[in-house]
Symmetry: C2
Subunit: 359 residues, 2 copies
């Protein structure tokens, strides 16, 4: 079971703090995961009306789902038998609600126009509130993510132990998929296996071509009970030169510098600034952001980059992933998942960060 | 490789027919599959500007993706280095474009507001055009769906051959997942296994409980190269009464009546009306729509129900799935996938429609 009542209560608290009477959360065509986040339900046609003042929640859904929803959620369930905008409008009028919060990062224009035509209530945006509460992972969410990280670490060890059997980039990607199936999890995004000069393309996808000598980027993760992990290791195939080893060590020390700079309730931008400072002249080869939140989505809030206005909230889970890329030559990236709590920063992925050399 | 140029050309033809100069297709946070549909690319941060008059396409994407996109698409690729709304505005001004079509079924309010602030061009909705072209499957799309249907049929045969080994509903769902893994495909939606009175809940999800005697609904499908199948068979566990056999035959004859009523370029609503007529008094137990389009999404256009205004376009692929449900007692549903062409209706899923009795 999901710890959904805790999340609903968090949301209600934030609504009240922001003087918002009611919010409507829904999930048309799976465009958003907030309905799942708040209820554990993954239903296409389902609307959650949250009346903050009354601490009351009404769930509107189709007759096909109502029985199931009643068995799962402790809220009033109403079967949709009219246009949903009219049913919501009726309830808002009854409760004398003046402002309805919806997620403007999820509501599409055509839906907005339909609701606007019917509602006597003003719609306002609550995407910031949802983003903020979703960043602060509950105990259960933390457990799910830790489990996903643990499986990812296990599979990385298995990759190293089996490396001799891999002939192509695709072989490694297939092996990961097979191990994930074994552990009853799925990929959280398409695995990146980029060997030799292919590693210079950060979002390269594996091909069925022989593994090139040189650095090989392995960027992968899994979903455990819908919660993601995301880890990158760069191994070396063949015999690295002293210069190559030094480049690897620079990326690793960049990650350490970023880790060291991170403070609870401080700006995320600080971390990328610290990383860029450590890279020095090499920072022009660092062509992407330092990191991102991880949760139900593999890329979610906070955004960890120089331009980000986000701050590290308590119990936020995120990646730190510095990388350097020399076009047509090589790429190196090291990425781990972290949680920040009152006790400081904790690394959740624990695979060795030392350069693994495959000869 | 995807047959994307054919789809882009189809789209350009429709834009010109509708006197629209340009369209912007994108895929922020995977909220839509039209970018994938038109390009075969599944990239978060990527914008396709289609200049219909010039038959020119410009792809805007991040520096992380630009190399990959250049290798795949035969279009001009521009690296995003400013707010995308400003880059699009610059191009539209240069080309003297007055109206920009966007997909109002995909664009969220916050993006719309950002673009509106910057663009000197009016935004109009092209969701209807996209829905219409996406309904008419290309030869390649038809092949992918047929392959998905073929695998679904194979797995259904394997289910029947292994039925004696299944103790719980969850056992059957696990078996399907395992066979799909074997065939290198994934589930197109969470499998429904509903035995005994559970079958009365159309969207019931399997539990790890012993299989009940009585009707057992098996509703499942797979994705082959992103294209879905969706099939339902109802088997009987134990010995059915004459009345139960008659109910099953009624649902089957309802499907036949619906099939028989379907005509190219005629209304989809006709099919459900024919089905309801065949059901007679039992139609009050038929509590959902008759069918839906199938493609990149397992539920897409056309909608096949009494209220639908859609018509059966050439090469549309869709389900027909009549069902009857007696609360706390039983449920029966039979569902197949079809394509409609100039030559008429073709059934794509071919598993036996006769009542399979498991004793």
């Amino acid at each position: 079971m999901q710890d959904t009542s805790r999340k609903i209560n968090l949301f209600i608290t934030e609504l009240i703090k922001n003087k918002i009477d009611a919010a409507l959360i829904y999930n048309l065509a799976n465009k958003d995961k907030h309905l799942y986040y708040l209820t554990g339900l993954d239903i296409e046609y389902c609307f959650l009306l949250i009346l903050a003042g009354q601490k009351k929640v009404i769930v509107y859904t189709s007759i096909l789902e109502s029985e199931r929803v009643k068995n799962i959620l402790p809220y009033e369930v109403v079967v949709i038998n009219k246009p949903i905008s009219r049913m919501i409008n009726y309830q808002l009028k009854k409760e004398k609600i003046k402002k309805l919060a919806v997620n403007f990062n999820c509501m599409i224009i055509n839906e907005y126009n339909k609701f606007k035509k019917v509602l006597n209530t003003k719609m306002i945006d609550c995407s910031d509130i949802l983003t903020k509460i979703r960043q602060q992972k509950t105990k259960q969410e933390q457990e799910f993510i830790k489990k996903a990280c643990e499986i990812t670490d296990k599979v990385f060890t298995e990759i190293l132990n089996n490396f001799k059997n891999f002939k192509t980039e695709q072989n490694i990607a297939d092996f990961i998929r097979q191990r994930f199936y074994h552990y009853n999890v799925t990929e959280s995004f398409p695995t990146i296996i980029a060997s030799g000069k292919n590693a210079a393309i950060p979002h390269y996808l594996p091909k069925d071509i022989p593994l090139n000598n040189g650095f090989c980027i392995i960027d992968f993760g899994c979903k455990y009970k819908e919660y993601c992990s995301d880890m990158t290791r760069t191994v070396f195939i063949g015999k690295p030169t002293a210069k190559q080893i030094k480049l690897y060590k620079t990326v690793l020390s960049t990650k350490k510098a970023a880790e060291f700079s991170i403070r609870l309730n401080k700006r995320c931008s600080t971390a990328e600034k610290a990383a860029r400072k450590e890279l020095g002249i090499l920072q022009k080869k660092f062509i992407h952001g330092l990191g991102h939140g991880v949760g139900l989505d593999v890329h979610e809030s906070p955004n960890i980059s120089c331009r980000s206005k986000d701050i590290f909230l308590e119990n936020a889970v995120f990646t730190i992933e510095p990388g350097i890329y020399f076009s047509e030559e090589l790429g190196i990236r090291i990425e781990d998942d972290y949680i920040i709590t009152k006790n400081g920063l904790e690394k959740l992925t624990k695979s060795t960060e030392q350069l693994m050399i495959i000869q």
